[in-house]
């Protein structure tokens, strides 16, 4: 009896041992596999990162080339757009990662000697900043309106907002043009400002966010005697601060990049933002182009470095369109 049980337990022990070894081996294989998988993924990510960053980095490094170096390297690329026959044009296009000699001459020329670029930069600022500010302001009110006392009419209006938001610019362009013409604001900044300020984009996003605030919170405030303005000011706005930042960044990127609107609505090239003007730099001034391009990148990059988390949160809120 005793012997039997002993035998049994010992055989059970060896079986257990074997099983344990097997599990360990499997674990090792699994670990090795995950290690391989992760290192492969990291390498792929690194390759993608290089591809994604290269154009940006190249633009910045090339902005520190002197004008003569630019025209020697890239003269051929840009010479076709103009009669710039004076400059030396090399046989090959040498894409350089690092300039032969770091020079600030591009920046000095742009900042001190050719005010037209700074003027266009200022045009961009003038066009974009009011849109960001006022679109947020209008949207804050509208989102509050959509959040409080939801009813069928409001849901229908909200649906119209969603449809409008999903329309590509080619569709809203003609209506925009007609309104600007009737209001006699064509060729003025108002033609860009007004449709921008009332764009449904921020309303949609902020409403989605505000509707997540528990209704009980607002009701409690109401019972305590708060009016709608106080609920808006003291409950909704503080809770939506982060969302407002996210949306502001998204609006800013979108309008800083605008090309279609000024082309149609501002026929006076003097009023064009730098985003349009940059493509019209002729070959004679190509020595400055990289510096101008870099200067134009600075505001969005600063916004990005400062508010990346807000941006990510804002994009995330955009998802889930049905919610």
């Amino acid at each position: 009896m005793k012997q039997g049980s002993d035998k049994n337990s010992s055989s059970a022990n060896t079986a257990l041992e074997q099983w344990r070894k097997q599990v360990l081996r499997k674990k090792k294989i699994k670990n090795a596999r995950t290690l391989v998988r992760i290192s492969l993924a990291t390498m792929a990510a690194a390759v993608f990162a290089v591809l994604f960053l290269m154009p940006i980095v190249l633009t910045i490094t090339n902005s520190f080339m002197s004008a003569s170096e630019i025209s020697a390297n890239y003269g051929q690329v840009f010479a076709t757009t103009d009669s710039g026959g004076k400059m030396y044009i090399s046989e090959k296009v040498n894409l350089k990662f690092i300039p032969d000699m770091v020079s600030f001459s591009q920046y000095i020329t742009v900042l001190l000697k050719s005010p037209e670029y700074l003027l266009k930069f200022w045009n961009s600022v003038i066009l974009v900043v009011p849109i960001v500010g006022f679109q947020l302001l209008v949207a804050a009110g509208a989102a509050f309106g959509f959040t409080r006392y939801r009813g069928r009419v409001k849901e229908m209006i909200f649906f119209i907002y969603i449809i409008l938001m999903l329309m590509p610019y080619q569709v809203t362009l003609v209506p925009n043009y007609l309104v600007s013409k009737w209001l006699h604001v064509l060729d003025t900044n108002w033609a860009i400002w007004l449709p921008g300020i009332f764009s449904p984009f921020a309303v949609y996003l902020l409403t989605k966010y505000m509707r997540r605030i528990p209704v009980s919170m607002m009701e409690a405030a109401q019972i305590d005697g708060a009016g709608e303005w106080q609920i808006f000011r003291k409950i909704c706005m503080p809770l939506c601060k982060g969302a407002m930042c996210s949306i502001a960044i998204l609006i800013f990127i979108d309008y800083w990049n605008m090309v279609e609107q000024p082309l149609i609505l501002l026929s006076d090239a003097e009023k064009h933002p730098l985003s349009v003007f940059l493509s019209k730099i002729n070959a004679g001034e190509i020595g400055l182009a990289f510096a101008v391009a870099t200067i134009y990148m600075v505001p969005p990059i600063l916004v990005f470095l400062y508010g990346e988390d807000y941006l990510v949160e804002g994009i995330t809120y955009q998802g889930g369109i049905k919610g």
């Binding site: 998988r37 992760i38 993924a41 990510a45 993608f48 994604f52 154009p55 940006i56 190249l58 633009t59 090339n62 690329v77 840009f78 046989e91 296009v93 894409l95 209008v138 009110g141 509208a142 509050f144 309106g145 959040t147 409080r148 006392y149 119209i160 449809i163 409008l164 999903l166 329309m167 590509p168 610019y169 080619q170 809203t172 209506p175 925009n176 043009y177 007609l178 309104v179 009332f198 449904p200 109401q222 709608e228 990049n257 090309v259 149609i264 985003s275 940059l278 493509s279 391009a293 134009y296 990148m297 969005p300 990059i301 990346e308 990510v312 994009i315 955009q318 998802g319 889930g320 369109i321």
Partner: protein, 304 residues
């Protein structure tokens, strides 16, 4: 139950109170500025555009029904632009969805420096197109770097921007710009899939590709829908790249609907523009509707 009763009661009680009515009015007041703006700048002019698209000309107002549409449709420039735009979207949008899902899964597979990689992938979204166009011109020039790299592998030189290869270039530029944005959406969706469901599937010895096909994809179906719609809308913005690279009349395969619109604006042909805009709106509504229906079909038994 108790809670429900209470709420119902409360609703009944407050439904007719003057205070609630006043609140409703005030909240509508908050909505008013935006609603008026949208009405004035988007909805009403759109109605007028519909009107313009079916009349002979705005002054006589003669009803011609579909004549304008037929005229626009028979316009060879419009047809080329429409075909180019559709081809581009049909290629670029699926690529943007699949590649960004791939990037998101790559970042979610516990790789080191995840947040740095996220920053890198997102950075093209921030950079104005106008700023990087110079580099694209240098890269894709006939004697540029792309051809040198291609030559290294023994391929022939290609005039990237002035041949049918131009479409490849704009797909690449589109992906470069938009993958990061889509990736963020997918990352959020991936991290919101309930962990316990995947654990159960693993316990029941589901293979990784089964988990991916039957659990992850279904849970992400609404995100896939959204990413597809956003990529579609953004794919119409590729005009910016093309315009900044090549101006108003690029190589024919890069001639997009926006080019057609811009050039029609030059002639102020309202009927043509209106008809084109309406056609595009209708096509958009149809495509988005189909996408929604597909998503409803595939994601119906998943909550959230």
């Amino acid at each position: 139950m108790h809670f429900y009763m209470k709420r119902k009661e409360r609703k009944k009680k407050t439904g007719s109170s003057p205070r609630t009515r006043r609140g409703k009015l005030v909240s509508a007041g908050y909505l008013l500025p935006s609603a008026v703006g949208v009405l004035l700048f988007f909805v009403l002019p759109f109605m007028i555009v519909i009107y313009y698209s079916v009349v002979d000309n705005p002054i006589s107002g003669q009803f011609v029904f579909l004549d304008n549409f037929i005229m626009v449709f028979n316009n060879s420039a419009f047809r080329q632009a429409a075909v180019n735009t559709l081809t581009f979207s049909a290629v670029a949008v699926p690529l943007a969805v699949v590649l960004s899902l791939f990037l998101a899964m790559m970042l979610e597979s516990k790789i080191p420096f995840k947040s740095q990689f996220r920053t890198f992938f997102l950075s093209p979204m921030m950079v104005p197109i106008a700023s990087v166009v110079l580099i694209w011109q240098v890269l894709f020039h006939y004697n540029g770097m792309m051809n040198e790299v291609m030559g290294f592998f023994g391929a022939d030189k290609v005039d990237w921007l002035n041949s049918s290869y131009a479409q490849v270039v704009i797909v690449v530029l589109f992906l470069w710009k938009n993958l990061g944005y889509n990736m963020i959406l997918f990352m959020a969706a991936l991290s919101s899939i309930p962990k316990d469901i995947i654990e159960v599937a693993v316990l029941e010895s589901a293979k990784p590709n089964q988990i991916f096909m039957h659990i992850k994809l279904r849970y992400m179906s609404s995100t896939i829908l959204f990413v597809t719609i956003m990529s579609l809308i953004n794919s119409f913005k590729v005009f910016r790249e093309i315009y900044l690279l090549k101006g108003e009349y690029p190589y024919p395969t890069m001639y997009m609907l926006q080019h057609f619109m811009n050039n029609t604006f030059g002639r102020l042909d309202y009927q043509k523009m209106s008809a084109a805009a309406i056609m595009m709106a209708v096509v958009m509504v149809i495509i988005i509707g189909i996408l929604f229906l597909t998503e409803n079909y595939f994601g119906k038994d998943v909550e959230g």
